[in-house]
């Protein structure tokens, strides 16, 4: 069965590339959007952590990050292509999303390809578009890449998205099944790479997400999600991780206020040479935003993790922000450019620090 899964992934890579060429033809209706971002970060209070595993990943005191996220979508009849690629000073070009879809009915799309896992709210709401999210930093449970995502953020395979109308509202559903990440020798999770399907061992994962919108065309919604992944590990101390995630989220917009909340319950069964061990913890975050004026937004967020003391899974993610409190302000420079200033207090394994970040971001055109 696993061999069949591997064959499916290789076919997926080939067919995705072929569809990309088809839908990139001049006859397709297309949209290309660029999301550039420049972020300057200063940290205070950092200490060396010689006793922490993978300590080489300690955050730097000062950082200047430049990133360009390219988004492309094309339609040809009921066929749809979606691609998102990220270029940054930290990483070479990476294909974040590459999906070929079929609009089965107007309210349901069946996708094949690499997509963002529908766990939670942040991942599928903001993807890699820095301009799209009010804050600079994402919640730790929804982090992409550095300082380390603890949950599968990408799956490569089948994604079904749809909605069922309920009067003025709707019930939205998302089902994802595909190749999940592998855990590298540095402890980090590495997603399936369509361009290099033979790299790493990527075992299947699945996620189901349901949400309710009182107004089908508005943004407020509340929902639940559940996911299961088998993660092969290249660490000497871990052979495999069976991870179950369940949680809930909401986004509430009313007048000048917006509230976004998520809660994740995570259970990991680690297969180790010395014997199996179980890990479980809960992570939650709540962000409030206030539109002071049409072009000024104040925001704040609190995040915390419970039951994480001496967690055998989290020990491999030293930069995971177990607790964080932040305050920030966002200013709309123009209709498609924003400036953000954010101050945060962060606690990681064995250390805590303060962080000041300034970001310019845009969505062009």
């Amino acid at each position: 069965m696993y061999a069949s899964f591997l064959l499916m992934n290789r076919l997926l890579s080939t067919s995705s590339m072929a569809l990309l060429l088809l839908l990139a033809s001049p006859l397709a209706q297309a949209e290309l959007i660029l999301f550039p971002a420049l972020t300057a970060t200063e940290r205070a209070g950092l200490n060396p952590r010689p006793d922490v595993q993978h300590a080489g990943h300690t955050p730097k005191q000062s950082e200047l990050d430049a990133a360009l996220n390219l988004f492309y979508s094309a339609d040809k009849g009921r066929l749809r292509l979606l691609a998102e690629a990220l270029i940054s000073n930290k990483h070479p070009l990476s294909i974040e999303r590459l999906q070929a879809g079929w609009l089965a009915v107007p309210a349901t799309t069946v996708w094949l390809g690499r997509h963002h896992s529908p766990l939670g709210y942040w991942g599928t709401q903001f993807h890699h578009g820095a301009y799209m999210q009010t804050a600079i930093q994402r919640p730790a449970s929804s982090a992409f890449g550095d300082p380390g995502d603890i949950l599968p953020t990408h799956l490569s395979g089948l994604l079904i998205e749809g909605e069922h109308e309920q009067g003025d509202g709707s019930i939205d559903y998302t089902l994802s099944f595909g190749a999940g990440p592998t855990q590298g020798a540095n402890g980090k999770l590495a997603a399936f790479d369509l361009a290099h399907p033979n790299q790493g061992t990527h075992k299947p994962g699945a996620v189901l997400r349901l949400s309710y919108r009182p107004d089908a065309l508005a943004s407020s919604e509340a929902g639940v999600f559940m996911g299961y992944s088998t993660i092969a590990s290249e660490l000497a101390s871990v052979r495999e991780i069976r991870q179950t995630v369940a949680g809930a989220f909401f986004n509430r917009e009313q007048g000048r206020w917006r509230w976004i909340g998520e809660i994740y319950g995570v259970r990991n069964d680690l297969t180790q040479p010395a014997g199996n061990v179980r890990s479980s913890f809960v992570n939650a975050n709540l962000q409030g935003e206030y539109g002071l004026r049409p072009d000024w937004t104040l925001y704040g967020r609190a995040e915390n993790t419970f039951g994480d003391r001496n967690d055998p899974y989290l020990v491999h993610f030293p930069n995971f922000a177990r607790e964080r409190y932040l305050l920030g302000v966002r200013y709309e420079l123009t209709r498609n450019q924003a400036l953000k200033l954010e101050l945060s207090d962060v606690r990681v394994a064995g250390d805590s620090y303060d962080q000041l970040a300034l970001q310019w971001s845009a969505a062009l055109p």
């Binding site: 209706q29 979508s73 009849g77 107007p106 799309t109 003025d168 498609n336």
Partner: protein, 154 residues
């Protein structure tokens, strides 16, 4: 007639004339949904129209409708946003961007030139746009699908 009476009569007449002119400009206006004459599109309900212009696919009899935004008249666009989409321009642009970024598709193209808008309407099967009824009735090659707003522009 005494001079003061003449003055009063003149002032009343002037006021009446001003009111008449004002009333003419504040006459009822209609915004209509139009397509090319060769395109057959059934009237859309208000929710369907909102869905279409918020970047969500609307299909009629196997034909995917393509919305075009009419930016040739700022007042027309403002009324369309306020009375049909129920969003400010900033929030509308952000919601469109968010919808496309999450699920793919395209933001409805915005045309600021009437000739280019009409050309696009005729070139794309299933394309629809909105315009003043008085304009639609004078342009050849268009079909009026139905009224989407009626009121005073005062």
């Amino acid at each position: 007639m005494r001079p003061t009476q003449r003055l009063s009569a003149g002032a009343v007449t002037l006021l009446a004339l001003m009111f008449a002119v004002h009333t003419a400009h504040a006459a009822e206006q209609r915004i209509v949904l139009v397509s090319a004459a060769k395109t057959v599109v059934a009237p859309l309900t208000p929710p369907e129209l909102r869905r279409l212009y918020l970047g969500i696919s609307v299909v009629q009899n196997g034909q995917t409708l393509t919305p075009l935004r009419n930016g040739t008249d700022p007042l027309l666009y403002e009324i369309f946003l306020q009375k049909v989409i129920f969003l400010s321009a900033r929030n509308y642009e952000h919601q469109l961007l968010s919808q496309v970024f999450r699920q793919g598709g395209q933001r409805p193209p915005l045309y600021r030139n009437t000739d280019e808008l009409i050309a696009a309407l005729k070139a794309e099967s299933g394309a629809v746009t909105y315009m003043w009824a008085s304009t639609a009735e004078t342009l050849p090659g268009l079909r009026i699908i139905g009224d989407i707003w009626q009121g005073s522009t005062d």
